[in-house]
């Protein structure tokens, strides 16, 4: 800011001190241990430096000393909100590496599970965004009421609510029994009614609109050049959804649309997530209706279920990516023929979407920085790896 002093015959500019505060690791709304070193002038933010690494477990080093299946449970702990899509990405990377064929029913089950996690993630993100805005826990608890039903399905299918460890290279561990499919269909029938109630509570709420509109605007070119992906990118109007771009697994069989915002502010990111939930419901209905019978594990990989250590993919490298609810989740696996990967790298959407956090927050108020961070939707397990 140009320091032009406005002197009323010597009164001089009223210079107030800038205040440097740490919205630090222990802070009610940083979604985990994440610090922002913020310099304030009054209430407006002058500079904001994110500080990360508090939850760094060196997941990639662990994977390099582990068998391929051994690091599958560790991928659950990357973005602990949607463990199924983390497994999905890792399984696809190793299947591409060892070119393993996955039977159709397994593809359908994987897509059903991935879309269910998308519902869980988007609902919780909106709940927590409202929590940062100050609504005292009510939206979060409405969101968690729906999340509980879906987590019960995961528990019934995979054995654990959040740490599912359900996918294996070449298919899935257990099959979906007809009752489970019926229960999923039941949830899909009730979800739209819940979304209506959620929207009447929030979308036209004047305070939410006041707080979220034109705050943290992300222009489209900056989004593309900062390799931002996921709902945050689509809220800025860039039409890029990896389910449509790569057509991985069997996504081209399902008819669904990709919602795009226009302004790319916090309100658009909030509303694009609600529209995406509606599209996921469409995919789920089609998938649950058309799921074919058949086995759930490719013949080649069944023996390796019993002894994961002697699964040795051929030498080579593979990079597979999945449209995780937070953005593009990519796995880069290099194998040197032994039972342990030579190099294992996770392209974490939360980590890369944060690059432009400072650009979004400069000039905004402290309260806006918190909700911008909430709308970017980061999870520290994936960010720090």
């Amino acid at each position: 800011m140009t320091e032009k002093t406005f002197s009323l015959h010597g009164a001089g500019d009223m210079d107030t001190q800038t205040l440097e505060i740490n919205i630090g690791p222990q802070h009610p709304s940083t979604h985990g241990v994440f610090r922002m070193n913020v310099v304030l002038d009054g209430e407006t933010i002058v500079s904001l430096k994110p500080v990360m690494g508090y939850l760094h477990r060196n997941h990639e080093q662990i994977a390099e000393n582990m068998s391929y299946t051994g690091s599958m449970p560790y991928t659950d702990r990357l973005d602990y909100f949607n463990s199924m899509s983390n497994n999905f990405g890792y399984a696809m990377a190793v299947e591409k590496l060892a070119n393993i064929e996955v039977p159709e029913r397994a593809h359908y089950i994987r897509i059903i599970m991935a879309e269910l996690t998308r519902l869980v993630n988007h609902v919780s993100v909106i709940g927590f965004l409202l929590n940062d805005l100050g609504a005292f826990f009510t939206p979060v608890l409405y969101a968690f009421r729906e999340r509980e039903k879906i987590l019960d399905i995961f528990e019934e299918v995979a054995g654990a609510r959040m740490m599912c460890n359900y996918l294996r290279f070449g298919g899935v561990k257990y099959d979906l029994s007809p009752e489970v499919l019926a229960r999923i269909a039941g949830i899909l029938k009730k979800f739209p009614k819940f979304l209506e109630e959620f929207e009447t509570l929030l979308t036209k709420n004047e305070i939410l609109c006041m707080r979220c509109q034109n705050v943290g605007v992300l222009p489209a070119e900056l989004a593309v050049s900062a390799s931002v992906t996921g709902p945050m990118l689509r809220a800025s109007g860039v039409n890029y959804d990896i389910r449509k771009a790569d057509n991985y697994s069997l996504y081209e069989r399902f008819k669904f649309r990709v919602p795009l915002g226009q302004k790319g502010d916090v309100y658009d990111r909030y509303y694009v997530r609600i529209l995406e939930m509606r599209e996921s419901l469409k995919i789920l209905e089609q998938a649950v209706k058309e799921i074919p019978a058949g086995d759930i594990m490719s013949k080649k990989m069944v023996p390796f279920l019993k002894s994961p250590r002697n699964f040795k993919p051929p030498v080579g490298e593979a990079y597979a990516r999945v449209e995780a609810p937070k953005g593009e989740l990519g796995y880069y696996v290099v194998s040197d023929g032994t039972a342990q990967p030579w190099r294992y790298h996770v392209r974490a959407p939360s980590f890369i979407n944060l690059t432009i956090l400072e650009d979004l927050c400069i000039g905004q108020k402290v309260a806006d920085a918190i909700i911008i961070l909430g709308s970017v939707d980061i999870v520290l397990g994936e960010l720090d790896r």
Partner: protein
């Protein structure tokens, strides 16, 4: 989508003097210095690779490598994989942050984990490890410090914090100091490092 072979010829035609090598359907750039030129060409040419999905460091014992995955959001076209190699002593690779803002954090992570210095990076600092951390954790020859046995530096630090360090531990620290060895943790299954 062009196959990697004719992509190689296309780039070499467009930018004279760069030599590319085909490595398992990815392009290895011989000389790291003209990475910026190639990347600019990839971005502005009709290929339209405007989206740098991921930058990954890797350690292949004799050299360090930085792997770039380019995609095109406009044409929704598949990955173009570019690799650049540097030696392990002082790894130098030009930074792509000027062209692709998204590379900023990923290059910092590669620097933090492998020690690859990216020239031209706005603020190349460690992103996960704390400032005072020495060594590059993801390198294959990285030896982890054993947290149980204290070294002389730790004993000294504890003392001036007013902590009374028990005798046996201090003796072990001095003995380690005399032998000039670092207290290293054994990797599971590996013999005691000499």
């Amino acid at each position: 989508m062009l196959s990697t072979a004719d992509l190689k010829t296309k780039i070499e035609a467009a930018i004279p003097g760069t030599t590319l090598k085909l490595v398992r359907e990815s392009l290895l750039l011989e000389n790291p210095n003209d990475l910026l030129k190639v990347a600019r060409f990839l971005k502005e040419s009709d290929l339209g690779l405007d989206y740098l999905s991921s930058v990954t460091g890797a350690d292949y014992l004799t050299y360090l490598e930085s792997v770039y995955h380019f995609y095109s959001m406009a044409q929704k076209s598949g990955p173009v994989v570019l690799r650049v190699r540097t030696d392990r002593q002082n790894p130098q690779i030009p930074s792509l942050t000027a062209l692709y803002r998204g590379a900023e954090f990923q290059e910092r992570e590669a620097y933090d984990m492998y020690g690859i210095v990216y020239e031209g990076h706005p603020d190349l600092r460690r992103v996960f490890m704390w400032e005072g951390f020495e060594g590059w954790p993801m390198r294959k020859d990285y030896q982890q410090e054993d947290s149980e046995t204290l070294e002389m530096a730790d004993v000294a630090w504890l003392e001036n914090q007013g902590v009374k360090v028990p005798e046996p531990i201090k003796a072990k620290a001095e003995e380690l100091e005399k032998q000039g060895k670092r207290a290293l943790a054994q990797k599971p299954g590996q013999p005691e490092p000499q």
